[in-house]
Homo-oligomer: 534 residues x 2
């Protein structure tokens, strides 16, 4: 059967065989003269605000050509067009599954060059209406001057993305504004935050698309009860972000409700109202718009057929090379920016929940590897920690560095002839070269095997525009990899079983308190007995 964009099986693609062959002898970066300045000069792609330096990956012109052809053969840009215009790409063919459009890109598509697709246009228009509502709402809040603090209650995508971006934009915060997040069903999470705030001056945003997320509703009730104890009326403090007509779309309980839609996956929701409310409160509406503009510019780049311009596509194909041909199981994302402290946790979710899949879009179990484990911490901190293993461990870990020419606060000191920012960048470049090149030595403990592939994504400064673009870079890169593997990157069936079993155990706790019998669940009951005898 001929391979088509809709039905291709990754390992049957023609170019896959070419790449397999090339992977039997990848370039050896430890050989004197291979990692030259010419190589570093040449293997660099630039567009928008970014440069991607990939001379320290184990690629050659042949490999790059084959990766480009693979992208073409698997019709990756066509699939991105289909996604962005609003085709139903979230589905598995031939089996009951989600059947949804994937339109997070429409959440920021009201600037230059809006998408022409009807669905995309409709979604962008609906979102623009929410943005206008939010702008008016925040203008009133600002005028009142009553609120200094915002708590967001949500979990997963309603937590990690907004939290990562909020932490990253601390330097751009409006004076006196604080933002906190409560996510964990662990009651200590809420208690720890509630200790730090004054309910009278605090807005609470509760985020759940369905309006039924267990953790979120539980934490909402906890926080509501504490607000009441403090003499506050929750309906004057609580805002909901939810689906229209969900149980949380209720003016008697919420000061305001902002909407989201079934075509926005949680992990892709940060530019929707899920992130908008907290980020606008913290940074102001104009800066939130700058985040959207940056994201939109990168979305547009992701439609460019030229892999040297389309950075997310290039990044995706380099990742496929490392994953499917050099067979590495993890990727470390190491931002040399303290502001990106929680950004890796967001990418970990976005990537692993999207591409940690075992069947393709036709429901066949895959016979190749899909998404890797994503992990990491900011440099230089990590250098004094897990870098030992990255340099000298027995498994190779591909690294994606992120760096910026300038600091955010622009407060820096020249100490011993250089600024901190210069020291930071020196460390970043040094690590990239050390990992690729390695070191020979007579003392075996001082031997570095090298050939540890890595790349550097560079931008000028981590401001709202650049952050939006950076986030979108990864969103689109992840989508491209899913398209290439022909898996569904937009569902998450793998989280269901745990939920079902958890509810059965919750029933045990409940029934026991009520003196009733509950459904048998012997393994769980044995665990509960261990708990009781602690």
């Amino acid at each position: 059967m001929p391979q088509t964009a809709a039905t291709h099986t990754f390992r049957h693609l023609k170019t896959v065989h070419i790449l397999k062959n090339l992977a039997t002898k990848p370039v050896d970066l430890t050989v004197e003269g291979v990692l030259s300045s010419e190589r570093i000069e040449r293997y660099c792609a630039q567009s928008s605000e970014f440069k991607l330096l990939y001379g320290t990956e184990r690629v050659t012109d042949d490999v790059l050509q084959a990766l480009k052809e693979l992208a073409h053969e698997a019709r990756l840009v066509e699939k991105m067009e289909a996604m962005q215009r609003g085709d139903v790409v979230n589905k598995i063919e031939g089996y009951p599954s989600e059947s949804r459009m994937v339109l997070h890109t429409a959440m920021r598509d009201f600037f230059m060059h809006p998408n022409e697709g009807d669905n995309a246009k409709k979604a962008a228009k609906a979102e623009k209406k929410e943005c206008d509502k939010l702008k008016d709402f925040m203008a009133k809040i600002d005028a009142q001057g009553k609120f200094t603090t915002l708590i967001q209650i949500g979990i997963g995508g309603s937590d990690l993305g907004p939290r990562a971006l909020s932490v990253a934009m601390h330097a751009f915060r409006k004076p006196g504004r604080q933002v906190h997040f409560i996510s964990n069903v662990d009651p200590d999470d809420a208690s720890g935050i509630l200790q730090q705030i004054d309910p009278k001056r605090t807005l609470v945003v509760v985020v759940s698309k369905s309006g039924t997320t267990l953790e979120t509703l539980t934490n909402e009730e906890l926080v509501r009860s504490r607000f009441k104890q403090a003499g506050c009326k929750p309906e004057e403090h609580f805002i909901s972000v939810t689906g229209e007509k969900s149980p949380m779309d209720n003016p008697s309980r919420y000061l305001a409700s902002f909407y989201m839609w079934d075509y926005i996956g949680g992990r892709y929701s940060v530019t929707s109202m899920v992130g908008a409310v907290a980020l606008t409160f913290a940074l102001g509406y104009d800066q939130f718009m700058n985040i959207l503009k940056g994201a939109h510019e990168m979305d547009r780049l992701a439609l460019n057929p030229d892999i040297h311009v389309n950075l997310p596509l290039l990044g995706a194909m380099l990742g496929i090379w490392n994953r499917n041909f050099l067979h590495y199981q993890t990727v470390a994302i190491l931002p040399y920016s303290q502001a990106l402290l929680r950004f890796t946790a967001h990418l970990q979710q976005c990537n692993m929940e999207s591409n940690g899949k075992r069947i393709d879009k036709k429901g066949n179990p895959v016979d190749f590897d899909t998404g890797p484990v994503i992990w990491g911490e900011p440099g230089t901190n990590g250098q004094h920690s897990f870098y030992q293993l990255i340099h000298q461990g027995t498994n190779v870990v591909p690294v994606e560095f992120i760096g910026f020419r300038e600091s955010q606060y622009q407060e820096d000191l020249n100490i011993q002839g250089t600024t901190s920012q210069e020291k930071l960048l020196s460390n970043l470049f040094a690590q990239s070269i050390a990992l690729a090149k390695g070191q020979k030595n007579d003392n075996p403990n001082k031997v570095f095997p090298g050939n540890r592939p890595n790349q550097i994504l560079l931008a000028k400064r981590l401001d709202p525009f650049t952050l939006g673009a950076l986030m979108s870079y990864y969103e689109n890169k992840i989508a491209f990899q899913g398209f290439c593997w022909n898996i569904n990157s937009f569902d998450q069936e793998g989280v269901q079983l745990g939920k079902v079993l958890a509810n059965k155990i919750i029933d045990h706790f409940k029934s026991k308190r009520q003196g009733k019998k509950s459904e048998k669940f012997p393994e769980a009951e044995a665990m509960l007995r261990h708990l009781e005898t602690l």
Copy 2:
């Protein structure tokens, strides 16, 4: 040549061959009836405050017996004795290397049953003296009532451990006391913290064993200059934790100095003065002593020859099974406790910097796998994120769950018949069973392959004693694995090359500013050109 404790090569151990054989057919936990309540009941070890439930690992009595014999054959408890009594275990034979004792256990060895070894006794005595100094110093600080805030400046072990424990003990903090950490050479790290504090009411602890760590000295200068700008005399606010007679042991610059020694590795230093000052400021001296008592109790357990009592040894051997026989490359550590938010980052350092090694103690490159990649985030948060990949991804990730019967704040609400803590524990147990057992289904997207090995470490409540014991559990487990592989878990040669190259690039920045020429470094110069043209 006969294998001895000092010279054994892991793969030549007799028991390794038995285990290899057993690993060709590991128990299938997805078969109906295998993961029974009897199995969960039986595969549980209890000592001190902890239970380790390992019925959801892919082990049988045969495997456990062989792991026990392996521990015996490789003389793991003898090696632990040697470490704790102060033998020089940090060295590579036959090559220039560090040649040091490893005595972090002595930092908490002044309670019941102190170690009888001369070196251990001497180290414990010296540390007790520092503790007494600290007690007096903090009594004065408390009496003054001037300081509400403490900033710790350090990196790697001087940051991650103290930070993880400080975050974990938030619920036990003395009223009004705040602790912050600055680690990254990124100048935005210091700027972000300095925005939040009042220098007049702030103590600053600077931690560097050598007194020469680049990141730390740079941040110290940044913070000193800001204190001077605010009209504060740094010598009345700054404290050093450093080696005796290091450049930082200087009364004209510091209000006080507390000492550490070359036999305390950074990643094992949290119970030394490196963690003591900040934790005592935050929690009070008595609670800090409780952390030490918990750690000491677990250190004593680690000397017990019975693997069913010696929990760190059992944990280590289960890890060896997953790593060397089932060949998994990563381990996810997933605490169901928001307080352990940064604890995984600490363990990531402790484990990966200790055991991410490629030569054994005789300097031979190893021909088996050593330390895995360690990563993770607290549950339930992760359930809405990367658990998709753990359940349905193409690579298996062994999981180590951590849970507690009671919450820290003991503030909880009964919502829909159960408390949050009960919901939290229900999720933990549900995930453990779901990963092991999997699920069959006609819809391929609802198939969970199962056989994803995991274990649960349970305790009653995360208080200072339990936290100390938990930390020591992992320290000792990591050491046992290193002993078993016969690698040196206590050096970190793999971080050197990056440092050397970074200094060369820093010289380029410096020389450029001064209009001088610097040593050629063509690859780095090409990267710098890319930076300049951004």
